[in-house]
Symmetry: C2
Subunit: 200 residues, 2 copies
């Protein structure tokens, strides 16, 4: 443990932070954002609640920190060899993430919580900005392979590919399946090929 | 007033329903879904609260009925003469709706409420199904003008056109503007022209 208490990989501070994050995700999945408590997270993490209160302050702080840690995690940017395959894998990743019995409820809880807490909203926005930026790599590769024109707003292509899934999941409440995911990927690719995502 | 108490345009039952709906929307805009009450709606509508409880049951029932009435309302399906213009006008309608100081908070409140109440969720889903179906008219016109192929899933073209706006508004929290709306419309059109929305 460093004397200043800063996070160091493998250090005690990092271990506590990771334990608290795991507990936050588990409580979110089990109880939802409205019913989770700082005490519940502390108990599950095996950390004294005064420590949790001092370092995270509140449920908002716990959720925001869990999102901050998620940004830093490795994330499997699709690399199938074609932009068509990569975009399809990307939308399938979103689909599978929400269908996952553990990840799905947690992801949903984060989006719902962002509607109520500015702190969570800020963290969620940063999380998506990071995901858009990471995913832009598959666009860069496609440009290098000559599959897409070089003057392209990669983040907006990514947003367009995933948006129809989120629209159904969080707005209309319509079901999602692989056909929905594949069509969303195909629509974004057609738009990219037509030059819709040229930077403005 | 009909003896059975069924809704009849211009009848007392219809007037009460309309007054209660107006009050529901005003309370939603002013207080949000979490803080609105049956009593508050009754007071604002000038209707006895026992009447509201008997007919609508709860805040969920009030919100769901307001959505049901919204489905039946005339809605300005764009008719600019080209599919390009119509889709752009459609995404601008969504943009302007959420930017409107009265309609915006109400629309947002409905989407947020659907996350918590199955009754509202069902009504919201029916509302969007109706909007998708109404908007399909602009696709039908484009097919008749020979602008788009006839074998097309119109509702999915509409969903794809509006989804990027909703993704920013309700998921990532990113700002929306006319450029975002126009690009979303252009992306959906490019996908339609490429045959992505052929029915499966």
């Amino acid at each position: 443990m460093t004397r200043s208490g800063t996070v160091r990989p493998g250090g005690r501070t990092a271990r506590v932070r990771e334990a608290v994050r795991e507990a936050t995700l588990a409580e979110l999945a089990e109880k939802g954002y409205d019913r989770m408590t700082v005490e519940g997270v502390a108990l599950r993490a095996g950390v004294h609640k005064t420590t949790v209160y001092r370092r995270w302050g509140s449920v908002e702080g716990l959720a925001a920190d869990a999102l901050d840690l998620a940004v830093a995690e490795p994330w499997p940017v699709p690399d199938t060899g074609t932009i068509e395959g990569d975009l399809r894998e990307l939308t399938r990743l979103v689909l599978d993430g929400f269908a996952d019995p553990e990840m799905g409820p947690v992801s949903t809880a984060f989006v719902r919580a962002s509607a109520r807490d500015p702190v969570v909203a800020r963290a969620l926005r940063a999380f998506f900005a990071a995901r858009h930026e990471q995913s832009a790599l598959l666009v860069t590769r496609a440009v290098e392979r000559g599959e897409l024109p070089g003057d392209i707003d990669a983040a907006d292509l990514i947003r367009t590919a995933v948006a129809p899934l989120y629209y159904r999941l969080f707005v209309t409440g319509e079901p999602v399946d692989e056909q929905v995911a594949d069509r969303a990927a195909a629509a974004a690719l057609a738009a990219a090929r037509a030059g819709v995502f040229r930077p403005r």
